[in-house]
Symmetry: C2
Subunit: 106 residues, 2 copies
DNA sequence: TTGACATGCAAGCCCATGCTTGCGTATCGT
DNA sequence: ACGATACGCAAGCATGGGCTTGCATGTCAA
């Protein structure tokens, strides 16, 4: 699997729905997740498709897992996503742009 | 151009560098941006490539523009990115997962 | 007006990505 | 042991995304 950062990981709408689901209920297995994606989000992905999405999310560090018998339980790691909103500022002059070497007077 | 949301817009590393650059200096033209991407980020994208990235960012609502003579100036709209960090919670038990119908004792 | 500069548009190429398909492995109940 | 359940792996396919290429449009300086 190619290099995966959190930005690429959340670029896919199905993966975002998976994160939403795990936020709603922790410790879900692959089958539980798939069932809930169909019911609550109208996403009818195959087991393998969901599994591959979970691999991407886990590689990106947004999901952790624990084996429980023959199931693999998943839970959300939301902390890394906080950094995204803090990377770029919300400038105070978003509606009145100016070039930076322009003089700002008054 | 296919449907563009902010998640897909920031999935590309070059586009994130563009946002970084616009955060550092507002009101840059396409040529200014391209020059600074090469110098400060080591990204040697063509003019057309940068232009298309800017289109994606503008469509996603992360960049706004203003024509200034024969140049088109760009500036960052950072506000929509704040919502990303707030979409998913940071659970308090991210390191000690449990299935949701499991009893937690002690 | 002429040429240089800054950008727009549109078609084509190539590779990454998401998905399917088929088979393999491990765990549980009986 | 046997079948059923839950998942893993790996190859192939098809679409989309990022980039290039070529030409067109618009603006400024002389």
């Amino acid at each position: 699997m190619g290099h995966v950062d959190i930005y690429r990981a959340i670029a896919d709408p199905t993966r975002r729905a998976i994160l939403d689901e795990l936020a709603d209920r922790s410790g879900q297995s692959l089958f539980e997740l798939r069932a809930r994606l169909v019911m609550k989000h109208g996403i009818d992905s195959s087991r393998q498709a969901v599994s591959q999405h979970l691999d991407v999310l886990e590689t990106a560090g947004l999901v952790r897992t624990r084996r429980e018998g023959r199931s693999k339980l998943h839970w959300l790691v939301g902390a890394p996503l906080k950094a995204i909103g803090e990377r770029w500022p919300v400038s105070t002059d978003e509606d009145t742009p100016h070039s930076s070497d322009e003089d700002i007077e008054k």
